[in-house]
């Protein structure tokens, strides 16, 4: 992956969030406060603008800039969490023009660790962690098995989506949905759903790029 592809990833994520904002807000209306779509849309719009204004030269810088922008523009729970994930991931990458899938896997690992440190959520708590953790697992496994970025991202996207769907029967223990107790059961977690979009964006751009397609 190079900085251009990382930038495409963020733009694809922004497009997916823009298209999916209505659904994210709907999920958040059911068990939260109905702003998750608007929050991420505002944030990723700012990310795209920031990356366009001064395009970074490394993947690391792209992720740090995106994370910092989300942190300072989104607010709510998802702003610091997505922000810290991307910042931690970016900081874990070498400052080289391109990064290998294994390096990206380590970076995504650092991102998840940062989310869990800041938010305190474990798998099963019905949060974005329930999409992020299986996505990371799938990505790492694929990379360890020799898959290229495209294939690994594809596996991660599938696992993230499945993980998001698996939040439906969970009872929330973190975030706003936890106030509902039993009544949080039966709804998909909005943050897990947006995490699904985020990994799907990675799969989309890396497969579109012939060099990464498998």
């Amino acid at each position: 992956m190079d900085a251009a592809l990382a930038g495409d990833w963020m733009r694809a994520a922004a497009a997916a969030v823009a298209a999916g904002a209505g659904r994210l807000t709907e999920l958040d209306t059911a068990i939260g406060d109905g702003d998750h779509g608007a929050n991420l849309h505002r944030g990723f719009t700012a990310v795209v603008a920031a990356l366009t204004e001064s395009p970074p030269q490394t993947v690391s810088e792209v992720l740090v800039k995106a994370g910092t922008t989300l942190m300072s523009r989104v607010g709510g729970a998802s702003g610091p969490l997505y922000g810290t994930a991307l910042r931690a991931a970016g900081k874990a990458l070498p400052a080289t023009p391109t990064v290998e899938p294994a390096e990206l896997a380590a970076a995504l690992h650092a991102g998840l660790a940062a989310v869990r440190r800041l938010g305190g959520a474990a798998p099963g708590d019905k949060t974005m962690v329930d999409a992020y953790a299986p996505a990371l697992d799938a990505f790492e496994t694929a990379v360890a098995g020799g898959a290229g970025l495209g294939a690994a991202a594809q596996a991660a996207a599938g696992a993230a989506r499945a993980g998001a769907e698996a939040t439906v029967p969970m009872r929330a223990r973190k975030g706003r949905a936890s106030y509902l107790g039993e009544r949080s059961i039966g709804h998909q977690d909005p943050g897990a759903a947006s995490t699904g979009l985020f990994f799907a964006a990675l799969a989309e751009v890396s497969q579109a790029h012939p060099r990464h397609a498998d």
């Binding site: 109905g34 702003d35 942190m71 607010g75 709510g76 969490l81």
Partner: protein, 330 residues
Amino acid sequence: MKKFMNDPADVVAQALAGVAAAHPELRVDVAERFITRAAGPRPGKVGLVSGGGSGHEPLHGGFVGPGMLDAACPGEIFTSPVPDQILAATRAADGGAGVVHVVKNYTGDVMNFQLAAELAADEGISVRTVLVDDDVAVEDSTWTAGRRGTGATLLVEKIAGARAEEGGGLAEVAAIGQEVNTSSGSFAYALRAGTTPAAGRPGFELPEDEIEAGVGIHGEPGRRREPMRPAKDLVRSGLDAILAAKPFPGPVIVLVNGLGGTPLIELYLVFGEVAAYLAQRGVRIARQLVGNYVTSLDMAGMSLTLCQAGDEMIRLWDAPVRTPGLRWGA
């Protein structure tokens, strides 16, 4: 959804422009999104800063002024402010004696304020945080996000604000704020959900004969759906939940708070029932406040808050306050 607005995305900024025009005694930084007293920080005075999502007006911006907050930072609707914004408000409130953050216990608020406090510390501003988590409808547990901050936020801001105004040190101001929170319990009912401009429809739909019990102030459904009952019964159940969660051996400050869409005549009727039932339960009311203070856009509903208050807290409650949303003795 019909609201007095132009573009849903611009509601907060345009409302802030209105606040700026309406209150020359405040300084509103519309770009950076914070509100301070026009006079600026008083050197040597501990600064009191609060903030959270918009949609709870007059909380928090309406509580900026002598005797209460030094600064408020409103986020998007129901979305906690971002660290930069909180940092800017913290700087603007700092008179050199440190700043107390009053934070309602929501994941987003907690994280954003925490990040801001770290940034402020980097700049040499001492920050103490008072976490408000008074809503007894939510079970308290270390495994969950814990209880929400609701009506007691007003009491914390008023009482800690009075202590700061009269020259209390950073630790003292934070301590009395935390004590107010520990001494408070709240419970809320919704008759009709509010509508956020972004979602464009109510957070939940209720049949004509049902209500949500144990709601928060962000349009989320409550702990359970119940049949509608007379005000007298709802007041009893709500107060029972509060009295079961915490001991209230001494006199209390009572807040009967409208959630935005409930008219004052109903809130007064509710307060009448509260006064009658507390008398029956042997709880003495030292002070009371009835009105729309900690709202949830246009949600029809009300919250009850009790705060166990000793002489010192009552003295600070009675101290002068001069803000757009709360004003007495000054």
